[in-house]
Symmetry: C2
Subunit: 227 residues, 2 copies
């Protein structure tokens, strides 16, 4: 369903070159819950950005549900992403001048649906992350974990077939984190979504169908995920 084929990505800063991904190959089945682990700075966010079509590799291909997204124009890639992918950013990337409600509503603007239907979906998403009573707050009027939960609600509101989550519970207490994992697992089970998650939360690893470790530019299967 998602294939990465010999994908390489480098950054150059003056003379100093960083290559977080070197000839990476990966196959993700439809409906999988893939957990991605690895040291800080190893390239996990870089990899998620390639899967979601937010970034392009220097070489190699990224194919999702038969579409080679590395061949799409910027405009087509953006449309594809809006229809296919829900992304929870590591830094949330909320719009500072919009309320929680308006931030969650943004992905729905691209679809033709009635205002009532849009409202219903935003309200459902906010309720699913426990933030119905914070809908009118701006991001700076929310706690760190509340901002993270708004980002999660925004990622699920348009009912995307692929959810890419970059450390979605990093700022949540044990109970809120458990609720989020339960929500994502339930969406996958009920609606057949494919879930790719970067995390260092061991309980998320336990719920995954498979765990991979990124290290020195390469993906490795994890023989044993108990620590």
């Amino acid at each position: 369903f998602i294939q990465l084929d010999g994908v390489t990505k480098s950054y150059r800063l003056g003379e100093h070159v960083v290559t977080p991904l070197h000839e990476v190959t990966l196959e993700v089945e439809k409906g999988e819950f893939l957990v991605l682990l690895g040291p800080s700075g190893s390239g996990k966010s870089t990899l998620l950005n390639l899967i979601a079509g937010i970034d392009r590799p220097d070489s190699g291909r990224v194919v999702v549900d038969g579409t080679d997204i590395t061949q799409l124009s910027r405009k087509k890639a953006a449309d594809w992403r809006a229809e296919t992918v829900g992304y929870v950013f590591q830094d949330y990337s909320l719009v500072p001048v919009l309320t929680a409600y308006e931030n969650v509503e943004i992905p729905l603007w691209l679809f033709s649906m009635s205002r009532a239907e849009r409202h219903r979906r935003v309200a459902t998403a906010l309720e699913a992350v426990g933030l119905s009573d914070r809908h009118g707050h701006l991001p700076r009027q929310l706690s760190g974990g509340q901002q993270q939960r708004v980002a999660i609600a925004r990622a699920i509101v348009a009912d995307p077939s692929v959810i890419v989550a970059d450390e979605p519970t990093g700022n949540l207490d044990v109970d809120s984190a458990g609720d989020v994992l339960h929500l994502l697992a339930r969406l996958r089970a009920e609606r057949g979504k494919t879930l790719v998650m970067v995390t260092h939360d061991t309980r998320a690893v336990e719920r995954g169908t498979r765990a991979l470790q990124l290290d020195k530019g390469q993906l490795h299967a994890m023989a044993e995920v108990s620590r």
Copy 2:
């Protein structure tokens, strides 16, 4: 060493009032490692901002090492904070147009020291968090966990007597998180620093001298911290 006396803080948004801290009283001994836990949105960051003098309570007093910081003018409070507190923000609050090195250097500008000495301290702090080879990167050229580590380096570089850390390992893998906890615990042991940390990392709880839970505007001792 740090006393909060009947501290209350509220926010009002139109007709809706949120009171994360209600008549909170707290005593922290010099050299303690206090761990603060609680649900997302409960008021932990609000409490840390009051302890660090970044914010003022609506009522009540905050006294640190004999100084009632709630009575200081804005200017004096800022000077006091620069000399006394190292703060790791939940969202890092790095300056986007400055490199990792320059971000870590900022707290040292307020002290009269030679350029060589400033350089020595910044280099030591960056090395302590494993980022010597990223000193020239801008925040957007760093991974989430690397940005978090720059924020930690900045909080320790001026050798403050109080370190306030708001979820300092939220975006770090298990090993990097362990290194950071070890670093902070070592600074406290070797240099007698007082450490107040918000976290949901159970290993940080184990290293603390005391753990408190914030819930419904009140602090509670935690009878049992094993989970």
